[in-house]
């Protein structure tokens, strides 16, 4: 079992995420309705449909071209806050795949660290604001630690998913400081953030794709 994700592995990751988003569309809308405007699931569903159309192209030369194509598909199909932010995640991640057809733990860690930074910049937000950053930020850190500790890819992505899920659950205790939830002030307390939920799924799907190679 290679300790890196091939282009096909990346495809399986994204396929798994797409399936999950489609099946969780109503749940994600529901979550978004508690503190936002109730359409995060529908937004991402559009995004993964566009992503699938982009992935129909079989000619990607490297991981960068595949991931940036996915990023552009998301940016130009989702809209809203999450479209720009998810798009940024994939565009930033794609930088780690320049000229290579495999992503190992180290490249994944670099890519997601840059992705988390991109979310923070574009969204003008920091961890603790009750956003998808609260899932991607700890996940990126977990990947960094796993890579430094030379853990295998499966363990590393599992730790990342666990970190993202912990971060997701922690958003329930946060008052939103950016995004639509922030209009509610303390009334946003007690609800898990929709974007953090979908983002945790992105990492869980990464682990599933890794483990099932």
């Amino acid at each position: 079992m290679a300790e890196a994700l091939s282009l096909d592995d990346l495809r399986r990751w994204l396929e798994h995420f797409a399936d999950a988003v489609v099946s969780q569309e109503a749940t994600l809308n529901q979550l978004d309705s508690a503190t936002g405007d109730g359409e995060h699931g529908s937004n991402l569903s559009r995004g993964v449909a566009a992503m699938r159309r982009a992935l129909a192209d079989q000619s990607f030369a490297d991981a960068q071209s595949l991931l940036s194509s996915v990023g552009m598909a998301i940016v130009n199909s989702v809209g809203g806050a999450s479209g720009a932010l998810y798009g940024t995640v994939f565009l930033r991640l794609s930088d780690a795949g320049a000229g290579v057809t495999e992503l190992d733990l180290s490249r994944l860690a670099d890519g997601f660290a840059s992705a988390a930074a991109g979310v923070s910049e574009l969204g003008r937000t920091t961890p603790g604001d009750k956003t998808l950053l609260d899932a991607i930020h700890p996940a990126a850190q977990a990947l960094r630690e796993a890579s430094a500790a030379h853990l295998d890819l499966g363990t590393g992505t599992d730790r990342a998913a666990l970190a993202a899920e912990t971060g997701r659950d922690a958003t329930a205790a946060m008052a939103a400081r950016v995004g639509r939830g922030s209009y509610l002030g303390d009334r946003s307390l007690g609800h898990i953030d929709a974007g953090a939920t979908s983002m945790a799924q992105l990492f869980r799907s990464l682990h599933v794709a890794t483990a099932s190679r």
Partner: protein, 332 residues
């Protein structure tokens, strides 16, 4: 779900198709690019005006395309800001060689997507001025980042639209737009939630006899929930923060706009407006012009957004210039 609707997926396109069918002389809906442009483009040299945002806020934004207002609008999905590709297509249609003003409401998604589009377009050589609308008076000035773009959007589009029509240059149009934003405050209340087509149920529940205070668009809750008082008292709630922040006093000259949120009957809206007008007049202010109706909405929310704009001769003059769009028309 009690809605005139074919399917959640077609709601926005069906609306835009119908709007264009009802106003063929004014607008054209380009379905592939998902933008609405003027049926007859403005003359070369006019500064372009583009706005867009989540659908569900009709007549924002497509309803304000036409002579005297926008050149193009890019409506997103319901409550979802448009994507950069849409914004760029709208900008291409609106650019008559003298640059384009983006009128951007201060919602994260809008700021980010218009921001991305502006960055790409600027690199390609298009001159873009971004005007951020953040007239929401429900957050104090030190929380200005939270201040949503609300009713000022309509007033800015009208006034900047007139300035552009007059041949003002990009910087001048942007400047008068920013001055309008700075002179305007909006406060909103909701007596019900709304039902987004895909969600299929109200975004939130509101017990009978209560209302949400300090709401925006998109079916947002307010910052507080309270027992619903009489219309006279609601008028006070709408006015208190606006009047304090704008420093409205004897001799202030104002344009007022009271917009229903989508399902507010006219009989209630004007009843409420009477109390608002009365209080403003008693304070010594002069209401120079007023709009009461559905000018920006949240699907089928029951509620109202009050906007007050402090004006001078220049702004009134621009306000009075002819406008001919699906949702706003005079002098034409």
């Amino acid at each position: 779900m009690q809605k005139f609707m074919n399917a959640p997926d077609t709601v926005v396109a069906d609306y835009l198709t119908g709007l264009a069918a009802a106003h063929p002389q004014l607008i054209e809906f380009r379905a592939e690019e998902r933008i609405v442009v003027r049926a007859t483009p403005a003359a070369a040299g006019k500064v372009g005006l583009v706005s867009g945002g989540g659908s569900g806020c009709e007549p924002l934004h497509a309803g304000y395309v036409g002579p005297g207002m926008l050149d193009a609008a890019c409506p997103g999905e319901v409550f979802t800001s448009p994507v950069p590709a849409q914004i760029m297509a709208a900008t291409r249609a609106a650019d008559h060689g003298s640059g384009v003003v983006f009128i951007i409401k201060n919602f994260g998604g809008e700021v980010m997507n218009f921001g991305l589009a502006a960055e790409i377009l600027s690199r390609q050589g298009t001159r873009i001025e971004k005007v951020l609308v953040d007239d929401d008076a429900s957050f104090p000035p030190d929380l200005s980042r939270q201040r949503r773009g609300l009713g000022a959007t309509v007033l800015v589009e009208k006034i900047a639209g007139a300035a552009a029509e007059r041949g003002r240059c990009l910087d001048e149009v942007a400047a008068v737009a920013r001055r309008t934003v700075a002179s305007c405050r909006t406060f909103g209340v909701a007596l019900s939630s709304c039902t987004p087509p895909r969600l299929g149920r109200p975004t939130f529940d509101l017990p009978a006899g209560h209302y949400e205070v300090g709401v925006g668009l998109g079916g947002d809750r307010g910052q507080a929930r309270a027992a619903l008082p009489t219309a006279d008292r609601v008028a006070d709630v709408l006015l208190d923060k606006i009047m304090a922040e704008l420093g409205i006093a004897t001799g202030s000259r104002l344009i007022t706009m009271l917009s229903g949120l989508g399902s507010t009957p006219e009989i209630e809206l004007f009843g409420l407006y009477g109390a608002i007008h009365d209080r403003l007049t008693r304070s010594g202010a002069v209401v120079e012009r007023s709009l009461v109706g559905n000018y920006l909405t949240s699907l089928d929310s029951l509620g109202a957004l009050l906007s007050v704009l402090v004006v001078d001769e220049e702004l009134i003059d621009l306000w009075d210039q002819p406008v001919h769009t699906p949702a706003l028309r005079w002098g034409a």
